[in-house]
């Protein structure tokens, strides 16, 4: 029976206003949630367990406040919850993040890892393929379909000329897009179990950071535009797009 891991991340709610204060983003007043695509990864992990049995372990990387996303995963029904962290860490780069998560995946001897296609904070999408490379595993990114087979899984991934129905032997890392499943909601029993659940904390060896974050800045602001009242102004806007903007 497969040993299934799912990577989850705590991020600001996608509806949150992000302010820059000094030279860093100020996240002191945002609401924190599990990154939206991770909810699909979590659902995929639960579907895998329901199809083939096994154990699902949710893994996150971060300080103690990240326990909340693990408890959220526990309330959905995962078996184990693990947080990778060392109090000496801060602002980890991709190389450090992937090394830390890879070490946790090895620690629990997982055979398949599900993650979101990207996290809502960085939007990078580097973690899934990066962890797969370090494990020397196959990977499929941005999947929009998933079936379980005796010796592996079948996924659907977007390709240039359509969607590719692709077979993958395990072990593998699978990054999930939205749309192929509907993430379940926790029930009362799950929420009560999650309250009592213990978060296992793991340390890991990580390399030095390869980048230095100099500053955060607000996005460039556009000059204010023109607003017209009523559909009779559509021809004027079309003319402006043609003659001033040169985009049509």
């Amino acid at each position: 029976m497969p040993n299934i891991a799912v990577l989850v991340k705590r991020v600001p709610d996608t509806n949150a206003q992000i302010l820059v204060s000094g030279d860093r983003v100020d996240l002191s007043n945002v609401k924190w949630v599990m990154s939206p695509y991770d909810e699909y990864a979590l659902e995929a992990a639960m579907m895998h367990k329901e199809a083939q049995g096994g154990v699902v372990t949710a893994i996150t990387l971060g300080a103690p406040e990240c326990d909340k996303v693990l408890k959220d995963a526990k309330a959905i029904g995962v078996d184990r919850i693990i947080r990778v962290w060392d109090d000496s860490w801060s602002e980890l780069d991709s190389n450090q993040t992937q090394m830390a998560l890879t070490s946790a995946v090895k620690e629990i001897s997982a055979e398949v890892v599900y993650c979101g296609k990207s996290a809502a904070d960085t939007g990078a999408g580097s973690t899934g393929p990066g962890v797969a490379e370090r494990l020397d595993w196959a990977s499929a990114s941005n999947i929009i379909g998933l079936e379980f087979e005796d010796s592996g899984i079948e996924v659907i991934v977007p390709a240039a000329s359509g969607n590719a129905r692709t077979g993958i032997s395990l072990p593998a890392v699978v990054s999930c897009d939205k749309g192929f499943c509907k993430p379940r909601k926790p029930n009362v029993k799950g929420i009560m179990m999650a309250k009592r659940a213990q978060v296992e904390v793991l340390a890991a060896e990580i390399p030095a950071s390869g980048i230095n974050i100099v500053s955060h800045t607000p996005p460039p602001q556009k000059a204010p535009g023109q607003t017209f009242d009523g559909a009779t102004n559509v021809p004027a806007v079309v003319a402006a797009l043609r003659n001033d903007a040169n985009v049509i």
């Binding site: 695509y37 991709s94 580097s126 499929a140 692709t166 077979g167 974050i213 800045t217 535009g225 985009v247």
Partner: protein
């Protein structure tokens, strides 16, 4: 200054035009790059060699390149590419390959770079609600967002080397499923017309499609529309939990302009908003706002465009 390497972007074996922008970004990092072409035809190699600012070209030829397979591409490209700062396109496969290659070399990957100023790289974070400025402390793999660097022109011709380099593929494509419709993907389009829940019913997206046909545009949708109507697939969603787009023209119809939608399209060169609510936040971000119902505005827009574009 370490060497720079560009991984050319290909689409179904053909060279993608964004490659000329990648060379431009590599030049901004200070050197004429070695351009690696994963699994190429001779014509693609010749086209890259003609670009200005290219140091040399390595055509990496192998069986593994017939379909995209992250693990084997990374192995083969890693063997062909010299050490240094590697530049890829921030496309779906480009970012995936960038992540694999960086992990293989145990170096950082920096995705979606939109500006390079000396040694400082800028990337959007929180889907563009803020920008992050970083300096590399060694070799790294970076991906460049399309339409942010000017493409290089024609040069004097660089030397082309062919390397036979394949690797075992880890995934097997069993079947290609044709897309449900032949419409342009929002991630690829230079003009996008998107509808929100203000369109009232998914059947009304036909009106957007007719305008898209006149413009050669893709049709997109807001999260509210995708979540409300099963007929509108997630592949059309523009926003923080959908696709981030950077077209020349973005037309938002019946979209109020929630933060998470703005995050996906705010860098569009020109934004037109059509909404009946004059207070809709989208108007603050539009170059041209039209306060009107879509029922009144779209027929006029369609006839004007058809008159203009034939």
């Amino acid at each position: 200054m370490s060497e720079t390497v560009v991984i050319a972007e290909t689409k179904q074996g053909m060279l993608h035009s964004v490659t000329a922008e990648l060379v431009s970004a590599a030049n901004a990092l200070g050197s004429a790059p070695t351009v690696i072409i994963p699994g190429t035809s001779d014509s693609a190699a010749a086209a890259v060699a003609e670009l200005a600012g290219v140091g040399r070209v390595i055509a990496c030829v192998g069986d593994c390149f017939s379909t995209y397979d992250a693990a084997s591409w990374a192995k083969a490209v890693d063997t062909c590419a010299p050490a240094g700062i590697v530049v890829c396109a921030a496309s779906q496969n480009g970012k995936d390959l960038a992540s694999r290659l960086a992990a293989r070399r145990s170096i950082s990957v920096v995705q979606d770079v939109v500006a390079i100023d000396g040694s400082t790289l800028t990337q959007p974070i929180f889907s563009g609600k803020a920008m992050q400025n970083i300096v590399l402390s060694g070799d790294a793999v970076i991906s460049i967002r399309a339409n942010t660097f000017a493409a290089v022109g024609e040069g004097d011709g660089a030397e082309v080397t062919v390397m036979n380099q394949s690797a075992d593929i880890a995934t097997a494509v069993r079947e290609m499923i044709a897309k449900a419709n032949e419409r342009l993907d929002v991630a690829e389009a230079d003009i996008i017309i998107s509808g929100g829940r203000g369109m009232q019913d998914p059947v009304n997206f036909v009106d957007l499609e007719r305008i898209a046909d006149a413009l050669g545009a893709a049709v997109g949708a807001s999260r509210a529309a995708v979540d409300t109507w099963d007929e509108i697939p997630h592949s059309m969603q523009v926003g923080q939990t959908g696709k981030t787009v950077n077209p020349s023209l973005y037309i938002a119809v019946g979209i109020s302009g929630a933060i998470q939608h703005l995050a996906g399209m705010r860098t569009s060169k020109y934004i037109v908003a059509i909404n009946k609510d004059a207070e809709a936040p989208i108007f603050k971000h539009a170059d041209y706002g039209i306060v009107s119902t879509w029922e009144e505005a779209l027929p006029i827009l369609e006839s004007e465009l058809k008159a203009l574009l034939g």
